[in-house]
């Protein structure tokens, strides 16, 4: 909830939803060309689309990660909106402070403008691992701010190490495969978005999106901003370097993740889930795994385990869509 007086609440203008790609393309760019992210960087695309959707009345926060380091080399930034670096540990905390500052200053007449939309743009590490505490607290306190997790399923910036959202079986520099550990990574990843939903029943809006479905993602950013309170957007942001793909396959990879049912596109509001991708059947996960070098060492028994985990996930989430046989 927000403590702003009613008329000040009304003053925060809702961002209209985008009917089609042409409306989306017509929006101004607030994450401009000129940053040192890898060619084909999924997180960079997710940042660009988010800033484009967010518009002028925004403040973006960058916990340490690729979307800090690769974007601010050197002594320059690509954001045409106010932006601030935070520690990887405290994106949620800094957003809370900025939100509280605007609440106080508007209410006390020290700031005459409109309440801004405040976005944390944190990687999966800065969201579900080292940043989990601050993310959760921001949502629990229901500050009027949006927590965006750009999920490239590893700590990319430091050279591809495992995070709590790295999938089972994935190579990283902390989970190399070898005779002792043929599957490379033995641990199953956290379900960050659903975990946050369960932990914060008061949170008004949570969405999962993908860069491969850009207009859907941009609308989710806008809906999250329109909420007067905390909101979460979890965006799948493929990392060509970390996952072992050629740059031009990044969007294909994101599409396959959704088509195989390993990344679900959804919105959660008013106690209900709605799913934006509902095929007749999901593709077998091997379609997704085979284009990524980080899974190249896996054997059929590992593929099977991964498929079972996905099937269980669909069941757990009440998604009654079958998976095609291999």
């Amino acid at each position: 909830m927000t403590t702003l007086l009613e008329e000040q609440v009304q003053a925060k203008v809702d961002l209209p939803l985008l009917q089609n790609i042409h409306k989306a393309v017509a929006l101004d760019e607030y994450y401009v060309m000129g940053h040192r992210t890898c060619a084909g960087c999924g997180p960079a695309l997710s940042y660009r689309l988010a800033c484009k959707a967010a518009g002028k009345n925004s403040i973006f926060l960058g916990p340490t990660g690729c979307m800090y380091v690769a974007n601010t080399s050197y002594l320059c930034v690509p954001w045409a909106v106010p932006w601030m670096h935070t520690q990887i540990t405290d994106g949620g905390a800094v957003a809370s402070g900025i939100s509280a500052a605007y609440e106080a200053r508007i209410r006390k007449g020290k700031y005459k403008g409109t309440f801004p939309n405040i976005y944390v743009f944190a990687g999966d590490g800065g969201s579900s691992d080292i940043g989990l505490q601050a993310a959760s607290a921001m949502m629990y306190r229901d500050h009027d701010a949006i927590f965006v997790c750009y999920d490239n399923e590893c700590y990319s910036n430091t050279g591809i190490q495992t995070s709590a959202q790295t999938p089972y079986g994935a190579w990283t520099t902390f989970t190399p495969p070898g005779p002792k550990i043929p599957e490379a990574k033995k641990l199953w990843p956290k379900d960050f978005a659903r975990g946050m939903i369960a932990l914060h029943p008061g949170m008004q809006y949570t969405a999962a999106a993908s860069i491969s479905y850009p207009v859907d993602y941009m609308n989710k950013i806008r809906k999250a901003a329109n909420v007067h309170g905390a909101a979460l957007v979890h965006v799948h942001a493929i990392c060509p370097k970390g996952w072992g793909l050629r740059a031009n396959q990044v969007l294909l990879c994101g599409k396959l993740a959704v088509e195989c049912g390993t990344f679900h596109l959804f919105e959660y509001e008013n106690g209900e889930y709605t799913y934006q991708y509902q095929p007749k059947a999901f593709k077998p996960v091997t379609e997704y795994l085979k284009i990524q070098d980080r899974f190249a060492h896996l054997k059929p028994e590992h593929h099977q385990k991964i498929q079972e985990f996905i099937n269980q996930g669909l069941k757990r989430c009440g998604i009654k869509i079958p998976v095609e046989a291999v």
């Binding site: 401009v32 002594l75 207009v215 990044v250």
Partner: protein, 130 residues
């Protein structure tokens, strides 16, 4: 008091100074960040066939660097070659295969033939007298 402790301060010459608290200016919307020119990374250049193109604009939303542009009054697709990294996402995103990935070596002004472009200004300054 000021004078007594001045001896512990450091004279920072004007040309070395950095902004207060490291706070920098933001670029303009729809603009660019010229301190990080990235066009020099390219191995392949995207080239659009305007005959095939149906202006669906999927390519525009596929570019992490916002270098796929609407040109010619919004009727054609163009590319900002100062920044395009040649990643090929726009090429993949096109549903009608209207974009080709052409090796930079095939162009007279291809990246490997450039002398001193795409350098950060302060690096360029280092080579100014060569």
């Amino acid at each position: 008091m000021k004078e007594r402790y001045k001896k512990y301060t450091i004279e920072i010459p004007e040309e070395m100074s950095i902004p207060f608290a490291g706070i920098v200016e933001s670029p303009k919307p729809n603009g660019e960040q010229p301190l990080m020119l990235t066009g020099g990374w390219r191995i392949y250049r995207p080239v659009v066939d305007s005959e095939k193109c149906v202006m669906c604009k999927s390519c525009v939303l596929a570019c992490p660097d916002a270098t796929v542009l609407l040109v010619d009054g919004g009727n054609k697709i163009g590319f900002n070659l100062d920044y395009c990294k040649g990643c090929g996402l726009c090429t993949w995103a096109c549903p009608v295969n209207a974009i080709d990935r052409v090796p930079e070596l095939d162009f007279e002004d291809g990246v490997p033939f450039q002398d001193a472009l795409f350098l950060l200004p302060h690096v360029e300054a280092l080579y100014a007298d060569d």
